[in-house]
Each structure stands twice: as structure tokens, then as C-alpha cells.
Symmetry: C2
Subunit: 447 residues, 2 copies
């Protein structure tokens, strides 16, 4: 069904605080986030042409409402905002929010995530109007449009507009065939098998299930206890064999030198990368770790909590990271993420997006497709994180993986439409799931 | 009057959103924050012994409520919290909040500022119990207590606990005489004369008034228009003379190379520093700018929006900044700021705190005293920002400057107690000042 494409206005913005009591089973636990309740801010933007743009922003429980509060406030700026203006120049809408002369003082974190909620919903509406999945909207964008979407203020010492245009045009003749190949077999996936909260038996089962589905890259959480980590790594290495790739993730639990020492102890298990070895914003620290681990063949990966495109810029231009783990909801939406993917290409760092949570896999697959078709223009060294939980019964268009590869999404937009019952039940704190357990979902400390 | 010092509990935490319509006069305007309404989150922590700890967190208007929202949420963690435990180990209370296993996902920005509101109020209560101004509480703290207050997780590649202890003990024999000298004549002050919104005549008057009060360091806002900046700089240089120190501030309006080019154009006016030449979190960018401007004798200063102690760490260890502009309400309270001041000492960078806003001068004077007595243990090269507005009629103990120097505060704690009428009138949006002008204080764009 065709909808009106011009003279369109934003009519209403709705925000919901959804939380899932994942802490019941310790799924998703890591050294810092011991009992996460996977949560998301769900934003719905209703346009005058009847189209609705949706987005999620992932958090681990408490604080989800802080972001929802911010989204509601930013929404006031967009009352009667012209959607034509957004489509005409998505970079101008980005600046309209990001450079707000008072809100800018709040810096990143909650503020940038809230901005991302709004922008990602607008992009979703745009893709739906064009009746394309998000990846296809992005692939079909003129290079000039991509470049105009990006805020270049702090970027040009690392990547200029002209360089970005060159990157987008460099393999123009190959884009169609890559797209066709990826529609047939999508980007390569990997997953976490070694959650902190799981028993050895549960880990073996997870790995066997994953292997049966074509996976040969596995991640394990480390950093709580060296002796335990060594034992578990030895065990996992035996289960997956020496040919499979093994990644480690400590979720920022270490200081810089501590990370180097700890990883020296774990190097015999031949890990491919250490993820988030130290503070999210420590560019120099990541660089020091990367240089120290280089002789061991271990690279540094990070991104899921990198708080701004400027920090990504520095990580990439300095050579501090060997894998660029873009996240779909940490930065200020599509505009920011496209900038980071282009930077990664320039500095020759594979884009390996951060998945999991709620809806992250559903979103990152679009970025991976865009990267592999239009930016990197190959699929030689990227892997895309995949976690199967919170898909069936949650999203109307769950992500799918076959033979260790994502299946290219076909639904229009991000494909984030939720099952209505799931949505209603998980609204915090009034939904059915929470009514009798409000306390366990609220801000509180572990006993 | 002596109060109970043990068995003390937190009874209640109150938070207020206060805003002042400073945009009426464009005081405080800069290239990004064109029409700021100086605002603060005011936090009151009531203890069971009757003592009340207060803090402010400065913002420029919209978004002030986001932080207040966060403070209210964090407060839930502290219901019936033992104040004895805070005094026993302020570092443990810091980690209790900062490492919250779900909230941590929100990263810095709103989250760290909200944490700072809580911690700074607790420190205020402690100083009041000890019946000392904050600077004196800090000066009298045992070095071990200072070091235990700091979160060392991400710091030790730049500064170890042992190095911090050495710094605090190095000039032990001189501390008493420095303290006595600073009680007589406090830290040297400087101020901004060249606000963007002022006319030439207003600037001349500001400078003359300041000179009459002993000032010989002046700051000017730049970055809107090169030709205009040159004209105004020439004019200000003439008014202040070649001997006075002149600082420039562009509030992050430039990209990295742009900053270098722009400052080359302004170097003939012999500025001492360029403040916030680019993005708040661009360590590499600041370093590149610092190296390029070194031959011109211009240093880089930053800090008021540096979002985390980890970013300060990198700026200091890399030599990216020549002046360390700690802010009193951007980071996670006293614990974070002490860490940064110790880092600055190790890397031999003068601490020149960021003042202005609401209550910042009232707080930074305590840090400047502590730095100059106990950490740097000299007053050779630090200047402390001072702005006279929002003092008289706002605070019961307004900061005072004589002969270009701050006067050492004597009130117990931070000295942030507010005039009750001012407080009530400026509550947003229900106070008298706002009832008829709610729109101009809310989030909105400039016409």
C-alpha cells in the first residue's frame, strides 16, 4: 500500500519502559552486570500519513526509565515537526537535537541514547514509507545523502566527507552482486556460550546446539577469577576444538595493566580477541593493551559502551582496536553508527556488531548488511553477534540464523514490531509480569 | 553545637529543580549555549542526627530535570543507609553507587552527575558534623583516607595509590604555613570579561570593575566569527594591556584542525590558553592541538565537560592539556575530583577550576584550597575562575574576592545554603519566577 510521502508531519511520540526479569536465570550475566533484567525503551513515532516508526534502546534494568524520561522530553522538540525535513536532510534533524543549546550540557550517556531512540524511530518510519528493510534503505541511499546525514564537526581530522564519498563509491560495480549473495546467505554470526551464570553442562549443551546450527565462533565471559577462567577456557577449548574461534569478554572489569597481565595468563588458549578489557572511554588504555597483546596474536575489541562517535574515532585512528563492535542503541542513531562504520573502513578494522539484549540483533543485522555491501564491500573478516533469546514470542519478525549465518531481514524498517501481549505484560511496573515483583525490577542492590 | 557522630543514618533525600532565567540578558552565552538558563539540581540529604548535607549540580536549563530524576532514583539505594559507613569508607559508598549492577549501563553524563549530587551532599554533611569548611575537612583528612576514597580500578596505569600517598606526604612540613597564608589571602582568581552577548561598552565596564578589584587575568569567548573575534581581541588587549593575562574559550565549537587554524589566526594577541578547543572527550584531538600550538606559546585547557575521571587521566598522562579545569559537579563528587587533582599534580599540570553557573565558585574554592595546601602545595601557577553573578541574594554565604584573590570560606561544608525566598521562587516550573514563563524555561529551540 502506497502512503503519502510529502507534507508528512510527526503527530505523536509514545515511549514505553519494558523490562524482562532475566535475572531469574542469570542469562546475560557478566562481571559487572551480575543480575541484569534485560530491558528496553520502546519508542513509537506516529506520522500524519499513518506510518509508525519504532525503535528500541537496550539497557539492563534500572535506569531504563531515565532514558524513557529523556525521550519524552526530547519529543517536545518534535511537536508538528516536518517529516519531509527529516527525509530531506537527516543530518539537520540530528543536529537539531544533538546541538540543543541547553540539553547539550548533559553530554553523552542517557542523553545520546535518548536521542538515538528518536532518530532510530524516524529512520524506521522512512524505511517503511519506502517499503524496504532498513539495510536496503541504507544500501540504496545516495552516497551524498549518507554523508549529509553525518555530523562532521569532530570527525574530519580522521575521515573527511570526501574520503567517505570515495569509500561509498569505490566498489560501486560490485555492490549488486554482494547484495545478491548476502540475500542468499547473510553475514556470519557468532555467539556467547560461556555465560558466567551457567554450569559446565549447560555450556556444553549450548555449544553443541550452536555447532549443530553451523556456528564455529564462540565467546566466553572472563574476569571474575583467574583460576576458574583457566579451567573453563581449557574445558571450552576442548569442546569446540582448536580450529574454532574463541573470543573473550570481561566487560571492563580490569584496569589497563591488569588486563595485560590477565590476558598473558589466558593466551595459551589462543583467544582471538579480548572484548572491553578496560574502561569504555579509555582510548590510551585500549591502545596500550592492544600493543602489549599484539605479539600474542590477541586483538582488542570494544564498542557496546563506547559513549560517543568521538571515542570511536580515536579508538580507530590510533589503532587501539582490532575489531569495531558498533552497537545499535548506544549512540545517536543511524547517523552516528554510519559515521563509525565508515571510520572503521578507513582504518581497516572489521565491523563486528554487538548483539543480544532486546532487539539489538534485529537492528545490527541491517548495519552488518550495509557495511558488507556498501562500505567494506566484502564479508571476509566480520562476524556479527547473535543471541537467540528474546526473539520468538517477543518480535513479530524474529531474526533468523541458518548454517551459522544471519538470514537477511525482509520486513520493512528495523523489523522491531513486538507481540502485543509481550509488550503489555512487560511494561514496568504496571504490566502483568511486574505487578507482583516490582521490587526485583527496580533499582536495588544485590543481597 | 556538637551532634551525634556515630549510629547516624540517612533519613531522607530531597531534590529540587531550580532554574534562573539568565537567558533574558544573555549572561553566560557561548557559541553552543546561546541562551542558557543557569540552573541547578539542589540535593538535600537529611541525617538522623539533624544534620543536613546539601549540594548543587549545575546545568544550563533544559535537562536539569533529567538529573533530578536520576538523583531521586539513586536515592532509593540509600534508604536507611548508614552514614557511619560513608565516613568510615567514602570509597565504598562511591562504588556502591557507581558500580550498581544495572545502573552502570547508563555510563557517564546524567548518571555520573546524579551520583555526584548524592556524594557531594554526603561530604557536605560530613564537613558539617566536623564543623569545618569543606577545604579544611579535606586538608585534615589522613592521606590514607583520601586514597581510600578514590576508585582506583581504571587509574593505576597513570597514578598508583602509593604515588598518591607520596604526593600527599611530600611537603607535609609546609602544609600548615601554606594553609595559614591562604587563610590570609586565598587562591588567585580570574574571570570572563568577553561574553558573546555583551557590547563593547559593557565589556570595558566589566574589565574596569574587575581591574579595580585587583584582577589581571581575563577570559574571552571566541569561535563564532573570526573577523569579529580578531576585532574584539584587539580591543580587549588594548583595554587590559600587554601585561595582563588573556585566556580564550570556544566551548567545543571547532573540529581539531579547525581549532589549530583558528588559533593560529588569533596567536598575535598572545592568549595564554584556548579552552575547550574541540569535543569534550577527544583526548587525541586535544593532544594534536596542544602540540601544534606549543610553538606559539598557547596551551590547551579543558575540563568543565570532561565526562569521566578516565578521560581526565588520558588528557593528563598524554600531555594534551596545559591547564586542568576540574569542575565541581560534572564528575562523581569529591571522590572523583580528588583523583583528578592528584593526577594533575603527578603530571605537573596546574589545577585551574571551572567556575560560574550556580554554586560552582562556592564549591571549587574548596578544591583550590586543598590543591594549593595539600597536593600541589604551592600557589605558583593556578588561577581559579570567578563570576560574581548569582551570589548575593542567592547563597547565605556568597563567595568573596578581594584584590583579585578568593577569600577562604569559613562556613561549614560547601557553604551552599540558599536564601529561602530565592529557592522557592526559582523552583521549576512551579516557582513564582516561572509560573508565568514556563515555556521559556522548558526544552525548546531558539526562534
Amino acid at each position: 500500500m502506497e502512503v503519502e510521502k510529502t507534507g508528512v508531519k510527526i503527530m505523536d511520540i509514545e515511549v514505553a519502559d519494558l523490562r524482562v526479569p532475566t535475572s531469574d536465570t542469570l542469562l546475560g550475566s557478566d562481571p559487572f552486570h551480575l543480575k541484569p533484567n534485560y530491558s528496553c525503551v520502546y519508542t513509537k513515532i506516529k506520522l500524519s500519513n499513518g506510518v509508525q516508526g519504532n525503535s528500541v534502546c537496550f539497557t539492563v534494568g534500572a535506569g531504563n526509565d531515565w532514558i524513557a524520561y529523556g525521550v519524552k522530553d526530547i519529543s517536545k522538540l518534535l511537536e508538528n515537526y516536518s517529516f519531509d525535513e527529516f527525509i530531506e536532510n537527516p543530518g539537520s534533524t540530528y543536529k537539531f537535537i544533538n546541538d540543543h543549546h541547553q540539553l547539550r550540557w548533559l553530554a553523552d550517556g542517557v542523553n545520546r541514547m535518548a536521542m538515538g531512540c528518536i532518530l532510530n524511530s524516524l529512520w524506521d518510519a522512512w524505511a517503511k514509507i519506502e517499503q524496504k528493510p532498513m539495510w536496503k534503505l541504507l544500501v540504496d541511499l545516495e552516497p551524498e545523502k549518507v554523508v549529509d546525514s553525518i555530523d562532521w564537526r569532530y570527525m574530519e581530522d580522521a575521515l573527511t566527507r570526501e574520503e567517505a564519498l570515495e569509500i561509498l563509491r569505490e566498489k560501486e560495480t560490485e555492490h549488486a552482486s554482494i547484495e545478491s549473495a548476502l540475500k542468499n546467505r547473510g553475514p556470519k554470526a557468532y555467539s556467547t556460550a560461556g555465560w558466567l551464570g551457567l554450569t559446565d553442562e549447560e555450556i556444553v549443551k549450548t555449544i553443541k546446539d550452536m555447532q549443530a546450527n553451523g556456528f564455529d565462533c564462540f565467546k566466553m565471559k572472563v574476569g571474575q577469577n583467574l583460576a576458574h577462567d583457566k579451567e573453563r577456557l581449557k574445558f571450552i577449548r576442548e569442546v569446540i576444538g582448536s580450529e574454532s574461534r574463541l573470543m573473550l569478554d570481561c566487560n571492563q572489569v580490569w584496569g589497563v595493566d591488569e588486563a595485560i597481565n590477565y590476558m598473558n595468563e589466558l593466551s595459551e588458549y589462543n583467544p582471538e580477541w579480548i572484548e572491553e578489557p578496560t574502561a569504555r572511554d579509555d582510548v590510551h588504555g585500549h591502545l596500550k593493551i592492544a600493543k602489549s597483546l599484539e605479539p600474542l596474536g590477541i586483538k582488542v575489541a570494544t564498542g557496546e559502551q563506547v559513549p560517543s562517535p568521538v571515542v570511536f574515532k580515536q579508538l580507530l585512528q590510533s589503532g587501539a582496536i582490532g575489531y569495531c563492535q558498533i552497537d545499535a542503541t548506544r549512540l545517536g542513531g543511524v547517523n552516528d553508527v554510519m559515521a563509525v562504520i565508515l571510520l572503521a573502513k578507513k582504518y581497516n578494522v572489521p565491523v563486528c556488531p554487538h548483539g543480544g539484549g532486546i532487539g539489538l540483533c534485529n537492528m545490527i543485522i541491517h548495519y552488518a548488511m550495509w557495511d558488507q555491501i556498501k562500505v567494506a564491500s566484502h564479508s571476509d573478516n566480520q562476524v556479527v553477534e547473535y543471541l537467540e533469546f528474546l526473539q520468538e514470542g517477543v518480535f513479530n519478525f524474529p531474526v533468523d540464523v541458518k548454517d551459522g549465518h544471519y538470514v537477511a531481514p525482509q520486513a520493512h524498517g528495523w523489523g522491531l514490531e513486538m507481540d502485543q501481549e509481550f509488550f503489555d505484560d512487560h511494561i514496568y511496573p504496571t504490566g502483568k509480569i511486574w505487578r507482583e515483583r516490582v521490587q526485583s525490577g527496580s533499582i536495588k542492590f544485590l543481597p
